[in-house]
Symmetry: C2
Subunit: 252 residues, 2 copies
């Protein structure tokens, strides 16, 4: 009996991680199909095809890779050393950051060529806030957790804020994407209200992104799926706590 | 020293709750000002003024009251009995539900009169999913926690899901509102790209809603601000756990 409950937990965990990967990858593919099939494909020449690089980069970088860096690194790899895990976490986030910045450059450059004003919409405000905060979160995380610049009490004080902000940024990235989908459809699809297949595809993409954010948030906040801390980490008390469990792991 | 830390925590808690109330109330007022000042005010005659009832009801009901029911009831009132708290929690959510349904009726009725198609946009899909799930969450919460229909193990199993879904629904409500703001501006404000005051006001409203969701989420998930459980609740282990703390309250 004692073994069956954790094993059941690991099976559910496996299904949820699998589900998150399917949701995330299908979202990336659907974004590519939307831009490729209905919006003329991709280019880097200041044309509308250059704009199309923007949604693909944001869904791949700011949503999928940011979410995966949380799940895959801190939840899936239980047997690697904490330092390896942290480096992988930082590396995937760096990749996410580079792809996101590429996505931002694509749209700003397209706006410049097409003489479209920048930064007037709610999508641009929320999106820019997300990217800037994501960059700050990455730099502070690097300085505090990968390099020994912060004292143990500072790391312990900052870790819950880092975790809270990380999830918050994923949610903001999903929200920005939904705003971008709505903007793009209202600007470019006059037949949106007639349930044109492009509009339905983009709406489905929006719902998939919401589900991806939901599943990642659930896996990340569930205590049961936490990587077991080493004795040194235990003594520092700097590890994830949860929203969704009734029992504390360090209590008897 | 031992008393100063909790007191400092209570002071921060007070400021955060105050901040959430300011953010929430200013959001409701700004929505009213936007609709009243720039969109011709309110009516119930199938006109564009009837549409204006929709954003006001959604921000008041699905965002502000839903968020407040979580903070005010489960975080502020520490000296009331658990049953009183639960009834207040259920009552505020019922109020939020009634106001939200009124907001939905307003827009569907306006669409019917103006012969505008329903349920084609991402805003409508996410908004409808939020309302339906909010209704289900309320009914299940009522049956499981207010009336003795569920056994203790079922309540204990469902509580973390209820908490997770509650926060998720608040986030979805904020996201739906941002989508609605974007839709309304792109449909009705041709000068949005020229930083028209109406567009700036609505963008600021969007950011305030994001901040409201962020502060409420932080207060609700922070272990330190949890209502201390009674011995009976402690033995059931059915209470909030957190994402944002390094120490477990029930550990020595």
């Amino acid at each position: 009996m004692e073994e069956s409950a954790p094993r059941r937990g690991r099976v559910t965990f496996g299904w949820l991680v699998g589900l998150s990967q399917v949701l995330g990858l299908v979202s990336v593919v659907l974004t590519g199909v939307w831009m490729g099939q209905y919006r003329g494909g991709f280019a880097w020449d200041g044309s509308a095809q250059q704009f199309n690089v923007h949604p693909l980069c944001m869904v791949l970088g700011l949503v999928f890779l940011q979410g995966d860096a949380a799940i895959v690194v801190y939840r899936v790899f239980h047997n690697e050393s904490k330092r390896t895990i942290k480096m992988l976490h930082g590396f995937i986030h760096m990749l996410a950051l580079v792809i996101s910045i590429l996505g931002f450059v694509a749209v700003f450059n397209y706006h410049k060529v097409a003489k479209i004003p920048d930064m007037y919409s709610l999508h641009s405000w929320v999106g820019m806030a997300t990217l800037v905060m994501f960059f700050l979160q990455w730099v502070i995380g690097l300085l505090f957790f990968l390099f020994p610049l912060a004292s143990p009490w500072l790391r312990a004080w900052y870790l819950p804020i880092h975790v809270f902000c990380g999830l918050g940024l994923l949610v903001m990235a999903v929200g920005s994407s939904l705003l971008g989908i709505t903007e793009k459809l209202l600007f470019s699809l006059p037949t949106y209200a007639q349930f044109h297949p492009e509009g339905v595809l983009a709406n489905v993409l929006g719902l998939l992104l919401v589900c991806f954010g939901g599943v990642v948030s659930y896996v990340v906040t569930k205590e049961e799926y936490r990587r077991p801390p080493s004795p040194e980490e235990e003594s520092l008390s700097v590890y994830f706590k949860t929203l969704s469990e009734g029992q504390c792991p360090s209590s008897p």
